[in-house]
Amino acid sequence: MNWEVPTMRSKTSSFKGGGFSRTLLGKNLTRFWPLWAVYTAAWLIMGPLMQLMLLSGASAQGRTQQRLAADAAGQLLNVGTKGGLWMGVIFGCLFAMALFSYLCSPRATGLMHAFPIRREGLFVTNYLSGVAAFLGADVLTLALTAAVQGAAGVLVWKNLLIWFACAAGMMLFFYSFAVFCAMFTGQLLAIPAFYVALNGLAAGVNTLVQSFASAFLYGYTGGGTPAWVRWLTPAWKLGRDVNTNSTWSSRLDTNINYRVEGLESVAVYAAAGLAFAALALLVCRVRRSETAGDTVTVGWAGKLFRVGVSVCCALSLGQGLYYLIWNQLSRGGNSLTGILACMVFLGLVGYFAAEMLLRKSFRVFRSSWKGAAAVTAALLIFGACVRADVTGVVARVPAASDIRTLIVSVGGQNYCSAGIRDPELIEKFREVHRAVIGERETMQQREKRSYAADADQQNSWITLEYQLKNGSSVRRNYEIYYTPDEVKDAGTAISKLAELVTEPAFQRANLLGTFLEQQGRITGGEMSFTAYRPSGSGAYGDYAAFDAAAAQQLYDALCADIDQGHFGVNQFDQDRWDQETYSNNLTLYYSIPGREADGGGKEMDSINVEFSVRCTNLRAALEKTGALNGAVLETYAQRDAWNGKAPAEAETHAVIGGADGPTEILVD
């Protein structure tokens, strides 16, 4: 039998020198249709279907056209920003897994690479298959949503295009990034693992390194999340940046003027997506076919993988193990030896685990001990460098000329917090900061002693957050241990701080805040107290109320006391604080002109003031308002003394006046 037949050139052949393949594109689009269908269906539900329900469902009844248009815009843009992010994160990875799955099977790789098409052709065709799939679904959603909105007469093309930009832009980035990850592995399940790990790696390592450093660097509590770390954590960055904003309209009883913030971030990431696609193509060219099935397919990436897994294990699991075990066994501060031992142990576990994954063998110890030793040495050097503070973190006090704002929080008898811009006051706090750093060794020794319940020792804390002119910030937190005598000793940090907290400028910022001092208008006030029932059935809360005029008088008196240094006097002396500070808190309410609250009225706020017997102006003002007629303010010490008596012995203690009439104070 002669099987020879004349050759007829294939009419459907897309062979054009091994570049883009229409055949492969068509095969991809038909082969993975369930995935494209789920993606499309999800968008169709979130897009046109939800718009249809909003515009024609029961909730649309009775709404004006304007309100329907505003609600439709809000829903569409919210779905575009938040839905687009999650769709991108999830489907970006799934698309890449589907289209590049052939690289994870030696058989499939053999077939595809034996075909007359270049590696670049395969990559470009597969990549564009994914792009075509999601763009097709996005365009279909756009068209149907436009049809629904058009039918309802609320069509706004600008909002639709913003939705499209968000959905397609974020999908482009996450899909391209997942493709990039896929190029580095030959195992299907490693693609999502790499994808998730690399998406959160920067933020995770940043947090873990700061956690380690804060355990050993005096005063260091972490440097926050630098901008570059946020940019390297795409899902987080896009989630924070890309938001929908609107304005409340009382007239329409809904939010209007919807606008999307953070579109520039979407644009940057979309461009980064294209860059990742180009990088993925470069990796694809050097990736060898025989690595199908390997955990890591590129030689240098394998080394990175070993070190990366090891370091991440050391920083996360190592520190976790340390805090889990050491905190149970030891009291009195952190142990560098302990934490390094845990980190090295878990680092080695991670290193050998990575090696086992790479070699697909459990017999890796003998052949990879050198790398493990290098990682161990690196971890020890890292620990030593942090302990030795080679970057000078501990001693760093930002230069006065670099500081834009200093936010100070001080513990003690009364929590104080203030944002300071006054250069003179900032300089005084810098002086305190330097003094605290100078007493570092004493403080660390006292911290260890504090676990032994040293009766002679008290402690407080101070947090200094320098917001610098270059946009960065420096944040420090110190526990301050002191004896009562040191508060009066002019040379100590605690005495400097004690003096500083009485500064009028500091207390004005602490007690009054920016808005009240600059824009606020006092609208009323009240004074709380606790009354005790003569029958012995317990205590109950009551208060005296002040109208706007009376409250304004109290406010003026309060300011006078601040300026005369009557506030913050006993911040670090508990006994005197109890003896001199009233347990009756004064609350003043104020409104802020020009700022609307959610309900449409003026935004209201309040300040709560704990004052002492030293506040003579405020006491006088209270008496003037008649609030203290026949009443006696009680200090904490007095209250505690009365608390010690039996309820049956209770008697009327004071009556104070208020806007709602006299109030009887009963104490036992």
Partner: protein, 298 residues
């Protein structure tokens, strides 16, 4: 012509190919044989552009094969583990192959339907192993290749189908001058179809000759020595010797005449030269390379 010159390929330090060299003449049918792990499949994957060599050169028709789609469009391959898409039918895979191979012939595809009794609409994974192999042959031969690379091609086929596919391949060789490189452990079949043979071991091609040259280069002598000579004289260059009664069977790497001349010095009572089969040549050649059937006592 297919030329492989000093090709080296290492996997994690292990040299799967260690200076492999072979030449397949145009229009020839070259049988590549060797023990398991010799590097045959690795070499074929280089020839089909799947793997890239660390060193050396691979030329087909004078052109390098790596990332050469124009050349690969004239080649077709049937690997030992042919891949097809999970849900694909033979017809689906035909359309896929047709999209990649410009010379794909629908006329031949339709004609071959008679030879391969396969339901085109049935998913390939539902077919038996032998029928999957038939599907691979069907598609590959429809690509009208100038170069055909086959790795264990008839493994799983029944005897009738083996003859069928060899008939088709040999028809292509005869009619179209197709160059065929086939790797197989079935030496009996290779002996029937190959005109050249290469023997691989440990990443190297130990020898390659035409089948006739190979058979001329090694001889099996059956000898009866005179009384008193019970052992084979040690001076004789014998690859392998065995004895049944007084008849010694000697394998010698040389021509029959020279072997008979050497043995004649010992005045044998009987000398008879017998041609070796390819399987015997394979066994005795590799026996010299420390790869022989071991007498294992269990």
């Amino acid at each position: 012509m297919i030329e492989v010159k000093n090709v080296v390929k290492r996997f994690d330090g292990f040299a799967a190919l260690d200076g492999a060299t072979l030449t397949v003449p145009k229009g020839g049918v070259y049988g590549l044989v060797g023990p398991n792990g010799a590097g045959k499949t690795t070499l074929l994957r280089h020839l089909t552009g799947i793997f890239r060599q660390d060193a050396g050169e691979i030329l087909i028709g004078g052109e390098p094969v790596w990332e050469n789609p124009a050349l690969k469009a004239r080649m077709a391959v049937i690997p030992d583990d042919w891949y097809y898409f999970l849900q694909a039918t033979t017809a689906d895979m035909m359309r896929f192959y047709r999209g990649f191979y410009p010379q794909f012939s629908m006329e031949r595809y339709n004609r071959l339907r008679e030879a391969f009794a396969i339901d085109e609409k049935k998913t390939i994974r539902r077919l038996s192993k032998g029928m999957q192999k038939q599907a691979a042959f069907w598609l590959t031969l429809s690509c009208m290749p100038d170069y055909l690379i086959l790795d264990e091609p008839v493994d799983g086929l029944d005897p009738v189908m083996r003859r069928q596919v060899w008939s088709l391949v040999m028809g292509d060789v005869a009619e179209r001058g197709t160059t065929v490189l086939v790797s197989s452990h079935n030496l009996r079949e290779l002996e029937d179809v190959c005109d050249h043979v290469g023997i691989m071991d440990r990443g190297k091609v130990l020898l390659e000759r035409s089948l006739a040259q190979l058979q001329d280069n090694m001889v099996k002598l059956q000898v009866v020595f005179p009384d008193g000579v019970t052992e084979v004289p040690p001076e004789l260059p014998v690859l392998h010797a065995s004895r049944i009664g007084r008849i010694h069977t000697l394998i010698m790497r040389m021509g029959a005449r020279e072997a008979e001349r050497l043995v004649a010095q010992y005045s044998p009572l009987l000398v008879d030269a017998v041609p070796l089969t390819l399987e015997e040549i394979f066994i005795y050649e590799l026996g010299g390379a420390d790869y022989a059937v071991k007498d294992i006592v269990l």
